[in-house]
Amino acid sequence: MISVRSLCKRHGAREVLTGVTATVERGETIAIVGPSGGGKSTLLRCLNYLEGFDAGEIEIAGATLVPGLASADPVLRRLRSRVGMVFQQFNLFPHLTALGNITLAPRIVKRASRAAAEAAARALLARVGLADRAGSYPHELSGGQQQRVAIARALAQEPEVMLFDEPTSALDPEMRDDVMEVIRDLAKAGMTMLVVTHEMQFAHDIASRVWVIDRGTIAEDGPPAQVVDEPRTDVAREFFGRIRRTSP
């Protein structure tokens, strides 16, 4: 489903990704963890080309990404209808209702009829537990509700892969569970997902594999039982040790 080969990216003189190579099979859920500034979000954003890269190649959902694609390249249009993304800050469109947010891309990218797009959107809202909020504007929703609308918006494209960039970091603890629950359901349904997260419990319970990313590369890659419980590298040991000390 996803194959990343020797991915390199620099911001000026600083190397952000230093030759990342990895594969993801269909139906896997990858938890991406690691110290901040290590390159987790950058890697995720390269996967749908929100950020370009300097060397290497990515194959994802049938599209091949190389350095230097133009923003209007048709490869990217195809890619983005197969790869959904959820942001830390939700990034809902404030001038549209929940329903408007979800139906926008199907209607103008996939040219779905209004009726079909709205029927699908209502089903998605029901799936994330917000059937009654179709007509609400983002500012009328709590953070957790906004993030669930954002997930529904990404799912409306019927993606093969979902990317989550710290989906619960901007939420109050009591709202995280609702969002987690939605992601857990997606995992059970067999969606291929990559989730940048700081939630160790979540990584442990849901992920099929955990990547520890540090200094621009995947330092450790394995099932959670191994990576979280018996880390082999110093960075993973230190990271999980600190997490364990700070979270109950």
Binding site: S71, G84, H95, A105
Partner: protein, 492 residues
């Protein structure tokens, strides 16, 4: 004198380069004691009246300078000209700022009720200018024709008396004849000094001045009511100048001498045209307000898409496109809209002959487009980056992202400054009177002269501007509330 109030639209005292110490008026005795007679004039009236010597910019010349020098010599004193805006000469004389007025002051019944007038020193004639192929023979052939003149002139009064408010009113001496040549008008009625110098010249081979005078009038020297002995002394001096041929020499030197000067002076033909407040006046104001509204709305409808394109080009365009947009903005924002209107209407006339309303809409639209562009650019830059990332992640292309995500949000941000700009445009639209469109402000200045007062026309004008702008502000406020349903003021 021809340009009158047009130069100082509100008639507020403008002391353009008044030289030296304050000048106190006085009687004939005071003048003799002082050894100097001061006289008020306005160099903006230009050649041949009183104007700055091209060779010596601080020195004034003109036939009235020479006439006053002759008068002063006969009184045994020197003459000194004092610069005042033409429209303020009479009140300034009454206040005592100088001794006499000698600057194209027409002898009229009305004026005679206010100040003393000397014998004439010049006889002018209202002259009709037409194209050489025209079948117009006299001022009585003008029904249904398009006629140009200057505002607040005797010619304007004659046309109003004969045909009502039909004249196309210009602000400068050259433009009426340019438009006549271009076929935008059928005839121009102005006094012979202007017609000879600007109309029937080698620059306009297709124009001719009809030989019959439409009317004649005289220029006289104005004196305060309290100084009858001064007006007698001036009359004696003028009679002496006429007898010994000095007046003729002066007029010949300025190519102003003609048979009219030796003919018996014309009677004072000005009927009292002062106008009262009536329903017709209100209708004219309402019609002018409609012109203002129409111009402003059309210009703004042009400015909004231009501004949007320019803003998008500046924010998202490749360097050459962004640079071109910036150049446009700097050019149109950095030069006066008045000049842009002139270029569009007169400058481009040989290439595309735009009607005055089209030129006005285009000029204001192009100009305001530059301002709107900066408003929209600011609005686009104020949208959080995550919005365009989310749109791109959903597979929207650049144009779709702009249209469905960024521009709707930019509109909410831009709406208050846009409302501001529209109200400002509503008032700026008064500038189009320079290209002969009569809108609300122009209607007010015309009515103020016709009614000999500013109060009623001014209040009517202000009321109509408010009637236009307030509902628009209200509409914008509602639209803003509807669009910006999630925007709450930040707590302090």
């Amino acid at each position: 004198m021809t340009r009158l109030l047009a130069l100082v639209p509100l008639g507020i005292a403008v002391l353009a380069g008044c030289s030296g110490e304050p000048v106190h008026g006085g009687t004939l005795a005071a003048i003799r004691q002082r050894g100097e007679i001061t006289w008020g004039g306005d160099v903006q009236g230009g050649e041949p009246y009183v104007y700055e010597d091209p060779a010596q910019p601080n020195h004034v010349i003109g036939f009235e300078v020479d006439v006053m020098a002759g008068v002063a010599r006969r009184l045994g004193v020197r003459a000194r000209m004092v610069q005042y805006a033409w429209s303020n000469l009479v009140p300034s004389l009454e206040r005592g700022d100088f001794d006499v007025i000698a600057n194209g002051l027409e002898a009229t019944d009305e004026r005679r009720q206010r100040i003393l007038l000397s014998e004439p020193y010049f006889v002018y004639a209202e002259t009709l200018t037409v194209r050489t192929d025209s079948d117009i023979r006299s001022v009585f052939d003008l029904r249904g024709k398009r006629i140009g003149t200057l505002n607040q002139t005797y010619a304007y009064d004659i046309l109003r008396m004969l045909y009502g408010d039909v004249a196309k009113v210009y602000e400068g001496n050259e433009e009426p004849y340019t438009d006549l040549e271009l076929g935008r008008t059928d005839a121009v009625l102005l006094d012979n000094i202007i017609a000879d110098r600007y109309g029937c010249t080698a620059q306009h081979p297709t124009l001719k001045c009809l030989p019959d005078d439409v009317a004649r009038g005289t220029y006289v020297i104005g004196v305060r009511k309290a100084d009858p002995e001064l007006v007698q002394a001036i009359d004696a001096a003028l009679a002496s100048m006429r007898r010994d041929g000095e007046l003729e020499q002066i007029l010949r030197r300025f190519k102003l001498w003609d048979a009219r000067q030796s003919a018996p002076p014309p009677s004072e033909g000005h009927a009292n045209l002062a106008r009262g407040f009536d329903g017709g006046l209100v209708l004219q104001f309402v019609a002018a307000a409609w012109v203002t509204l129409k111009l402003s709305v059309l210009a703004f409808l042009l400015a909004v898409p231009i501004g949007t394109l320019l803003a998008v080009a500046r924010v998202y365009g490749a360097p050459p496109i962004a640079g071109a947009a910036r150049l446009y903005i700097e050019l149109f924002r950095g030069t006066p809209v008045l000049l842009q209107l002139f270029v569009l209407y007169y400058g481009l006339a040989p290439v595309v002959s735009l009607g005055p309303v089209e030129a006005a809409v285009l000029g204001l639209g192009l100009n305001y487009g530059a301002y709107e562009a900066e408003v929209y650019r600011g609005a686009l830059l104020a949208i959080p980056r995550g919005q365009s990332e989310a749109a791109r992640a959903l597979g929207l292309g650049p144009i779709q992202t702009l249209r469905h995500v960024l521009l709707p949000q930019a509109l909410r941000i831009a709406l208050p400054p846009m409302t501001n700009d529209f109200v400002s445009l509503l008032k700026d639209s008064s500038l189009v009177s320079v290209i002969t469109v009569i809108e609300l402000t122009k209607r007010m200045t015309i009515a103020a002269v016709d009614m000999r007062g500013w109060l009623i026309p001014g209040m009517l004008c202000a009321a109509l501007y408010l009637v236009l702008s307030f509902p628009l502000s209200e509409l914008a406020r509602r639209l803003e509330r509807r669009l910006a349903h999630d925007q709450r003021p930040l707590a302090l």
